[in-house]
């Protein structure tokens, strides 16, 4: 079996937000529905204080609460594919926002209005591409929920090119946020392959998932900085 996971090392992250910028460019962010966000908070008491940088994308849970909520309202717009990627079908989404309300991580965002990323400055390069020419996950729609897709368009490309073994290694087949990190605080790969770098690093660092008490089985692992919320 192949199970793609992401590893985020809070001990390495310096909060530069390169991952956010890469995601914004790759996935046509709109201001109301960022797919990647950075939480920043302080822990400890003076003089022993430090800053925690916690970048959050979709956790692509094994038992996704967003899907359970979406199914319960009858929309059935959320699915989990063979790679373990949780995807929203924009054509089925009814814009109820239940997925956003139930996610333990607050990941799905309802795009109430499709606005340019830089209001008042016109469309940026990516925004000039017509919806029909974009990957289905990039066809922005009003009143539709959106979230990180593990850059599923790249994973699909790997399948098309017969290069699934290069996922997590090659730029063309790896989520953009994971390849731009200047301090290698992010990693992507197959956790079911014991030889993969991500599997080995998760094991070596004792990385864990956030908010495990919800039982959703997130596929994003964190090396937790001391004092950070988990």
């Amino acid at each position: 079996m192949t199970k793609f996971v992401r590893l985020i090392d809070q001990k390495r992250c310096m909060g530069c937000r390169a991952c956010m910028s890469a995601c914004a460019a790759e996935n046509y962010f709109t201001p109301e529905a960022p797919w990647n966000s950075m939480l920043e908070y302080e822990v400890g008491t003076y003089p022993t204080v430090k800053k925690i940088y916690n970048t959050l994308n979709c956790m692509h849970c094994e038992r996704p609460s967003c899907k359970a909520a979406c199914d319960s309202v009858g929309a059935k717009a959320i699915s989990k594919n063979e790679f373990g990627v949780v995807l929203i079908d924009y054509n089925k989404c009814i814009g109820c926002g239940y997925c956003a309300a139930v996610c333990p991580y607050g990941v799905p965002q309802l795009n109430k209005e499709v606005k340019p990323l830089y209001p008042g400055k016109g469309k940026n390069g990516a925004e000039t591409i017509a919806n029909a020419d974009r990957h289905p996950t990039h066809r922005k729609k009003q009143k539709t929920a959106e979230k990180c897709t593990f850059c599923t368009h790249k994973l699909e490309q790997a399948v098309t090119d017969g290069k699934t073994d290069r996922i997590g290694k090659d730029q063309a087949y790896t989520p953009s946020c994971d390849i731009v990190c200047p301090v290698q605080a992010r990693m992507f790969g197959d956790i079911d392959d014991p030889k993969s770098e991500v599997a080995q690093r998760i094991k070596a660092t004792g990385a864990t998932q956030l908010r495990k008490q919800f039982g959703t089985g997130p596929q994003v692992y964190y090396v937790i900085e001391q004092g950070a919320k988990s």
Partner: protein, 97 residues
Amino acid sequence: MKRFLAFLVIGFVLAAMPALSATQGTGKAPAKKSLEQTGRFHQIHTKKLAMDCGTCHQSEQGDILLQVPRAKVVDRQICLACHKEGSKPAWYGVVAR
């Protein structure tokens, strides 16, 4: 006189029916599936289950992991108390189909 009184009673009942049905939530189209206060989500929690706003909206600040850029969030620990596996509707710990 009797006929007049009967008309009066029937007229009163007919006039009061829309108001009664509105307060009881019967005979109305189902609330829209949305997170707005008038939507189904809030109606179920506040009307059907008679929960106070404060039951879910406990603090301004909320959980740090749900802070930015999401305002006015509800700590999902509160949701978890009722919506875990085995409950209806269950949202947490449910196997994806």
